[in-house]
């Protein structure tokens, strides 16, 4: 057997052979691109099977005898044909990333294909050959049907796989790749029409043309989108050009060999313009360049050095840069990767913060008093110069220290407790403290502590001011002395002018006015002082009261047989403690009256609910409540709880004033204020203008009335006509304080034996 005898030249064999070799070359190229990637592997396998199929057919065409052709077909070509469908199927699986965990499937499909290959040796598969005008061609028998079914099934599965994963891949490049592979395989599979002539139908097997198109498409896909898995090395270019940080590569001589888009854009260069420029072009600071180009040994990393880059037009951009040395195989430095972060914004924020801190310091130092800021653990954050002078330590050295580092233990402990109280209560705390100064002199210091909040409204520390009020305290004493002297003077003058009624009256008038002014002044200060001190006192007093009460309990139990007398004394002591506690609690209430939250409220409904709350006392007391409430009153801006407290207080007083029963008128109405005086008018400090419309509430009883002599004192703290065990004397002063902070007015008119009328005037919010 020789080539000359068995084969003869046939033109039709040429294009088929060329297509076979092209497929083989394409497969080899793709495989060499990435030998480890399954996509490339299965693609190369597909190409190989196409090559075997077509090259075998080329040989069949060249064969002279049927036996030669049959051998080529059965043992060689068939091997390619049965492998095509499985190879393409798994190639697509790899492409759509659904290959993982499919080992069983892979083995079974390839085993099945191999069985089909072996079954091809049976004459019932390839039954013989026939001669068409293009040459000899194999004929398939009934045993080929299962194989054809297998072939078509895999083909459909392949298309299904491609179709269902179109547009669903993570990267757009992968989706594009799938699209083009889909069309390529569609065209390639049309070559299956070459099966038709195997059933004695003389259709020219043009499948190789499809294979050419397929090769062209896949070649394009390979060149354009790469078939292999995307690795960092592959996409490095894109990564580098896209990262928002500045990145340059610098060679050993300090020349820029690459600059990314971000740095070029930020510094005002065109892409590529920076290449081959010395690194000094962008990095003006000589020592930074020196550091950048230094050889640091093995590691070669410099991290987060602050410097500035210079833009093309000379502007400096603050950055922090990091660099890594790149070494060649011999271990010598070949160049550097330099990344940098634009910190312009951060810098600005830092500058602004520093400005704010300087301003804070300036403000603190400008305060003549001692001032400080502490964090929530009591460490000083900032203190001013007077603080430093007072304790004899320089302000900078106090930062970070606590009270225990500066003051004697006792006062440090006290301060810590005060700070904690301020932080726990969230309220300002004012105190007068007696101290001993550096030279042993007695000092009176007024301190005010205030909580510091962060933006989440959490308390993060305290701010404090201390003022030396030694002089003021002395003056206060002097004022009392002056008043006393004046009182005596007045007595003398009064007696001297006893018989001169006119003069006396005038003098009395002016004295009265003077006294009124003084009372008002003293009152205002007293109220404020009481409010400020109340919460502080409460804690200071309640602790010893706790000890005393426990002490009394102790004595009660020491010897139950101590006798009636001692037992009675102990009960009296207990009552005393409870009374003191009651006053402290009332004081706390009073200090709370300084806090309020106003909302538009219907005054009438506050009145109704207040009356409801004292109903238990009214019932059976013989008191009749007469409501004269006007409809349609405008709403007033008040704290309903606080105003309710005032009404309840007045209602209770009214009930107390009528032990034998009587009428309690409760009125509300709108009124234009007509009478000047008592906070109404045009004087400084007047709350209402004459003629201003306001809401008026009256509570009038038909009780005992108030003595003219004491009517001016009823709003004073601790003034009471009731038994000491019944009242604290703070009710009306709290009421007045509450009305004051609402910018309203409360007044009283009374006639002994006829009754008392309290009038409260509320502002009407201005209509917008």
């Amino acid at each position: 057997m020789s080539i000359l005898t068995d084969y003869a030249f046939n033109f039709y064999a040429i294009p088929v052979g060329v297509a076979a070799i092209s497929a083989l070359i394409l497969g080899m190229i793709v495989f060499s691109q990435d030998t480890r990637a399954p996509i490339n592997f299965f693609f190369a396998l597909s190409c190989l099977s196409v090559f075997i199929w077509l090259s075998g057919f080329s040989m069949i065409y060249l064969s002279k005898e049927s036996a030669t052709a049959l051998a080529w077909c059965r043992y060689y070509s068939q091997f390619g044909i049965i492998a095509i469908a499985p190879n393409i199927y798994f190639f697509v699986k790899a492409l759509t990333k659904s290959l993982k965990g499919k080992k069983g499937l892979l083995i079974s499909i390839y085993s099945l294909a191999f069985i089909f290959y072996l079954s091809g040796f049976n004459p019932a598969f390839v039954i013989g050959t026939t001669r068409y005008f293009w040459g000899l061609y194999p004929l398939y028998g009934p045993l080929s049907y299962p194989f054809l079914a297998f072939f078509i099934a895999l083909m459909l599965a392949t298309f299904h796989n491609l179709w269902s994963s179109r547009g669903k891949m993570e990267l757009s490049i992968e989706n594009k790749r799938i699209k083009i592979v889909f069309s390529a395989i569609l065209i390639g599979y049309a070559a299956a029409l070459d099966f038709i002539p195997t059933f004695k139908i003389g259709l020219y097997p043009f499948g190789y043309i499809n294979i050419f198109v397929w090769i062209a498409c896949m070649g394009y896909a390979v060149a354009r989108y790469k078939l292999m898995i995307l690795t960092p090395a592959l996409v490095a270019d894109q990564v580098v050009s896209l990262i928002p940080d500045f990145l340059i590569l610098v060679d050993r001589e300090g020349k820029i060999t690459m600059a990314n888009r971000a740095i070029a854009a930020a510094l005002g260069y065109k892409e590529g313009e920076l290449i081959k420029k010395p690194v000094e072009t962008v990095m003006p600071q000589k020592n930074a360049v020196k550091l950048l180009l230094s050889d640091l040994g093995e590691n070669g990393i410099i991290a987060n050095v602050e410097t500035a880059y210079r833009s093309k037009d000379g502007k400096e951009i603050p950055v922090i840069f990091s660099r890594t040395a790149i070494r060649n195989d011999a271990g010598d430095v070949a160049g550097f990767v330099v990344t940098a972060l634009d910190i312009t914004e951060r810098k600005e924020t830092e500058d602004r913060l520093r400005d704010i801190q300087l301003q804070q310091e300036a403000i603190l130092n400008n305060i003549p008093d001692i001032a400080w800021l502490k964090d929530n653990e009591g460490r000083f954050i900032m203190v001013n110069e007077p603080f430093g002078k007072f304790c004899g330590i320089r302000p900078q050295e106090i930062i970070g220290k606590t009270d225990f580092d500066i003051w004697p233990k006792e006062s440090a402990q006290r301060n810590t407790i005060y700070d904690k109280e301020v932080m726990l209560s969230g309220r300002q705390k004012s105190l007068e403290e007696s101290l001993t100064g550096k030279e042993g002199e007695k000092l009176v210091v007024e301190t005010i502590r205030t909580p510091i909040y962060n933006d989440k409204r959490e308390i993060v520390g305290t701010a404090g001011i201390a003022r030396d009020i030694t002089e003021r305290a002395k003056e206060g004493k002097r004022l009392v002395e002056v008043l006393e002297a004046e009182r005596k003077t007045r007595e003398v003058i009064t007696s001297m002018l006893e018989d001169n009624n006119q003069v006396r009256e005038k003098l009395e008038n002016s004295l009265e006015k003077l006294k009124e002014a003084q009372t008002n002044l003293v009152h205002a200060e007293k109220m404020e002082a009481v409010g400020r001190m109340a919460s502080g006192i409460a804690h200071e007093v309640k602790n010893p009261l706790g000890i005393i009460l426990q002490g009394i309990n102790y004595l009660e139990g020491v010897s139950p047989s101590v006798g009636k007398e001692i037992y009675e004394v102990l009960q009296m002591m207990k009552d005393g403690v409870k009374r003191a506690d009651g006053i402290v609690r009332a004081l706390l209430d009073f200090s709370r009256s300084q806090e309020f939250e106003t909302k538009p409220q219907d005054i009438n409904s506050i009145i109704e609910s207040s009356v409801g709350l004292v109903q238990y006392r009214i019932k059976g007391s013989g008191v009749e409540v007469v409501r004269e409430l006007s409809n349609g009153l405008p709403k007033a801006y008040v704290d309903a709880g606080r105003i309710g407290q005032v009404f309840i207080n007045l209602l209770n007083n009214a009930v107390d004033a009528m032990p034998k029963g009587g009428k309690l008128y409760v009125r509300s109405y709108l009124s234009k204020l007509k009478i000047s005086g008592n906070g109404v008018g045009g004087r400084e400090g007047d709350i209402f203008r004459l003629g201003e419309e306001a809401i008026v509430v009256e509570m009038e009883d038909t009780g005992a009335g108030i003595d003219e002599a004491i009517i001016n004192k009823i709003f004073d703290p601790f003034f009471t006509t009731k038994d000491r065990t019944e009242g604290t004397g703070l009710g009306l002063s709290i009421a007045r304080s509450i009305i004051d902070i609402h910018r309203g007015l409360i007044s009283v008119k009374s006639k002994k034996g006829e009754g008392t009328k309290f009038t409260i005037i509320f502002k009407i919010p201005e209509r917008r």
Binding site: T416, K420, L424, S425, G426, K542, L549, Q550, K574
Partner: protein
């Protein structure tokens, strides 16, 4: 009957002394006191109390910190705490309840009241 073990935490030594006597005299209680709250965990471990009475405003370690310390401690978190303080504001009250105290008592308080509140707290548990 086994005695109820109580720890009182307060910075006032005199208060601790008298209250301890008063409670123990009632016969049902065994009381340990501590004025520096920093050592509370050690005491809880060695004494294994049934309940803790806790002052709030104390220098250095205050009641809230003690609460937190106890709640984070495996032995301490089982012990009910009653706040016993002179500091009475709504804010502190809510904060203490949030931290898990079972009751909030205000000084001055009578021994009899204190005992009934302790018993109530233990009954609820």
């Amino acid at each position: 009957m086994e005695k109820i073990k109580v720890i009182i935490v307060d910075d006032e030594d005199l208060f601790l002394k008298i209250t301890k006597i008063n409670l123990e005299r009632a016969g049902k209680f065994e009381v340990k006191t501590i004025s520096d709250a920093a050592g509370i965990l050690l005491l809880v471990k060695s004494f294994n109390p049934d309940i803790i009475l806790l002052d709030i405003l104390m220098p250095k370690t205050d009641g809230m910190e003690v609460c937190k310390m106890l709640r984070e401690d495996p032995a301490g978190k089982k012990v009910p705490i009653i706040a016993l303080t002179a500091l009475d504001t709504d804010k502190v009250r809510t904060m203490m309840y949030k931290l898990g105290v079972v009751d909030f008592l205000i000084k001055p308080i009578e021994t009899s009241e204190l005992i009934s509140r302790i018993e109530k707290a233990l009954k609820i548990r």
